[in-house]
Symmetry: C2
Subunit: 223 residues, 2 copies
């Protein structure tokens, strides 16, 4: 076992904090790219779109408190968070379902820059086989088990239609995949010990609609 | 101005609560579809993946407290939340950038079912014009202003490459769009009064990686 306390499985970071760590990581990367070496909790909180008390509380779970009067060392904090999330590791990923969304995901530059390496693209449709997307050849879905074993894949991405998604998830779990990112509009049943996260592309639109509605009614009040 | 207090622009719901309302809405829709008429805050919290104290606090902003010993009326609570978010309205949406991701978004059934109606698909590349995606014809980007005015579009979706995204945002804002959903890996500068939300497809993968890393280190402890 690693000596790092950050991977101590007994220490629980609240799920809401875990969900914000990638957002802090992105904000810190932007600051590093802009040449910023230190930042206050207020600056970082603003860049990440949270309030600074919540930010300080979140970072305290990582043992990061900054330096009074100086703030946080941007590079070091970025490293701490990346290590905590695990994106300093290499994560081989398979994507199943190479339609429009699968193509878009295979081309998505944000995966590779965060340690996610797309090692295989799989599709049940033979017409898609041999096509290369972002340098990776599309292969038959039947190759799943062999690829997972050979490449030690722990994370699978489902970009199939909803009707196929449970079958794909079952095969992924049987092959040894323990984390699934589901883009299909479906609820997956998986055994204990397997994590599933669902991406709902409409959530952000709904948040915009909420604010848009309030802007309209504010305009009506003024009128 | 509407008489509904739910659109009173003076009453502020915390941003974190706003972000969870679509998640509650999805959980309630699943319960309705399963034929459930009432549910406890614990049941709803579990379906939505939050703790029940937070759920009760969130719903209290909407004036929803449930009935002691009975719980929440699932249908009514769904209506309350949908109204609060604004998804009981019709929201005309334009999508700019009809590559793989734009195609996937145009085909995404989750938009229409939440009140978002894709009224136009725009692309700068003439080779994409006249193609129909999900029944909507791809048109030149130059048509943006006319479409926004004719269809009263308030929400724009950017699915272009990063290099084009700021230009597209500028044109959207000039045309009168006040909410932008940005799928391009870029940070957009917009004037006050315009809301931008960014979808980062790697955030959920990073959350999975965090748990995956902890599963690996837990397995090492046992071994």
């Amino acid at each position: 076992m690693s000596a790092r306390t950050s991977s101590d499985p007994a220490r629980d970071i609240p799920e809401a904090t875990v969900a914000r760590l990638p957002v802090y990581l992105r904000a810190l990367t932007t600051l590093v790219d802009a040449g910023t070496s230190t930042c206050s909790s207020e600056e970082l909180a603003q860049a990440a779109g949270v309030n600074s008390a919540k930010l300080r509380k979140d970072l305290s779970y990582l043992g990061s408190y900054g330096t009074r009067g100086v703030g946080y060392d941007v590079e070091y904090l970025r490293y701490q968070i990346a290590r905590e999330i695990g994106v300093t590791q290499d994560w081989p990923v398979v994507i199943v379902g190479i339609g429009n969304l699968g193509h878009a995901l295979a081309n998505y530059s944000g995966f590779r820059s965060r340690g996610f390496r797309v090692v295989a693209l799989l599709d049940a449709d033979p017409r898609r086989h041999q096509e290369a997307v972002a340098g990776v050849v599309v292969r038959p879905f039947a190759d799943l088990e062999r690829i997972v074993e050979e490449q030690d894949v722990a994370i699978g991405v489902i970009a199939t239609p909803a009707v196929a998604s449970q079958d794909v998830a079952d095969r992924m779990v049987a092959a040894g995949i323990t984390s699934i990112l589901n883009f299909a509009p479906s609820v997956l049943a998986v055994p204990d010990g397997v994590d599933v996260r669902k991406v709902d592309l409409s959530i952000e639109l709904q948040i915009l609609a909420y604010h848009e509605q309030r802007k309209s009614s504010a305009a009506e009040v003024i009128a």
